[in-house]
Symmetry: C2
Subunit: 228 residues, 2 copies
Amino acid sequence: IVTLDNVYRAYKMGSEIIKAVDGISLKITQGEVCCLQGPSGSGKSTLLHLMAGLDKPTKGSIHIGKTRIDKLNENQLAVFRQRYVGFVFQNYYLIPTLTALENVTMPLSFCGMSRKKRTERAKELLEAVGLKDRMKHKPSELSGGQQQRVSIARAFANNPKIIFADEPTGNLDTANAFEMMKLMTSMARQFNQTLVIVTHDVELSEFATRIIKLRDGKIEKIENGRDQ
Amino acid sequence: IVTLDNVYRAYKMGSEIIKAVDGISLKITQGEVCCLQGPSGSGKSTLLHLMAGLDKPTKGSIHIGKTRIDKLNENQLAVFRQRYVGFVFQNYYLIPTLTALENVTMPLSFCGMSRKKRTERAKELLEAVGLKDRMKHKPSELSGGQQQRVSIARAFANNPKIIFADEPTGNLDTANAFEMMKLMTSMARQFNQTLVIVTHDVELSEFATRIIKLRDGKIEKIENGRDQ
Ligand SMILES: Nc1ncnc2c1ncn2[C@@H]1O[C@H](COP(=O)(O)OP(=O)(O)OP(=O)(O)O)[C@@H](O)[C@H]1O
Ligand SMILES: Nc1ncnc2c1ncn2[C@@H]1O[C@H](COP(=O)(O)OP(=O)(O)OP(=O)(O)O)[C@@H](O)[C@H]1O
Ligand SMILES: [Mg+2]
Ligand SMILES: [Mg+2]
């Protein structure tokens, strides 16, 4: 469902060129749970943003399904992402003036769902991530791990075909991190969604169908996960 | 060096009262590496902010050394923290318009150090956390783990007596997380600094003199670390 063909992403810093993604080709299949690992600064977030259409490559092509997303303009991308893509950001990017419930209903407001159905769906997701008693809290009234869980709920809200998650459990204790991975993978299985998850947590990679290891913007190796 | 006596921190949310910290008494000794653990939402960040004078308790007293910090006014607290306290925030709070180098020199600008010495000190710290080639980058031009490392360097910049760190390695891969813990504990030993570190990473607690486990705003138990 996601195809990267010889993708590069470089940044020009004065006289220096930083190769955040330095020649990556990759095919991710529908329904896969693809785990992305590698040292700090190896290009994981950059790669994830490119795959989700949140950034454009310097070279190479990126397809989601049959759509070549690196050639879409900003408006087309916004519509495309709204329908097909969910994203959990490394620093959540929740809207500070909205409650947890409002943050999760936001992606649904473009779906033609009634207000009543949107709230029901958002409540269901927030309950699933363990935040039943925190729905009226704004982000500043939530702990770090609670904000992270709101951001996970939001990514699943509109039932996207692919969910990209950048360190979705970095701020959670082991028990909660496991709960979140079980929840995300079981929801994804139920709706045949594809998950691409960046995580430093070596224990969580047991949930993966494949583990892709990055180093210096390149793929160092690919391992098969337990789900073969 | 840090003394909490029957400390409470409650939040009023409409008709509900949330007991983030629900009766904690604790003494932390100079030079200790104190690890704070517990489930998401158990009160770790709240407790850390109270200890560092970044928040006031609803009840109870907090001393750093002989100074009762919950009775200082905003100006007195700012001066006190500037001299004695370093803080690594769960979401870094780097200044987005400043480079990594400028972010680290900032705490030093109140120390009476010459500009040349401040830059030297900041470069030394950024090199120690592995960011020698990223000093001119702004936070938006750094990976998540790199931003976290700048925030660690900044906390040590003015050689404070106590450093409070809220999940300082949450966004780092295992190898880098270990490097950071080794670095922080060895710097602290060298200058007899006290470290109070919130971390979900069970492996990192081997660096601790004591491990304090929280649950629902209370201390569940205290374990002795390897350093006994
Ligand atoms: N301003 C606030 N208003 C209301 N409730 C709050 C506020 N700030 C924090 N809380 C609540 O207090 C509790 C403790 O929060 P805290 O941030 O200390 O948890 P934590 O242990 O650091 O969690 P995490 O591991 O997820 O970072 C949480 O349940 C949170 O929802
Ligand atoms: N806007 C930018 N300008 C210059 N360099 C950048 C920019 N954004 C990222 N980089 C660099 O690109 C490299 C890859 O960054 P990326 O955020 O993808 O790493 P990462 O693998 O997600 O790291 P982490 O595990 O720390 O989150 C880093 O070395 C970073 O400094
Ligand atoms: Mg990243
Ligand atoms: Mg916290």
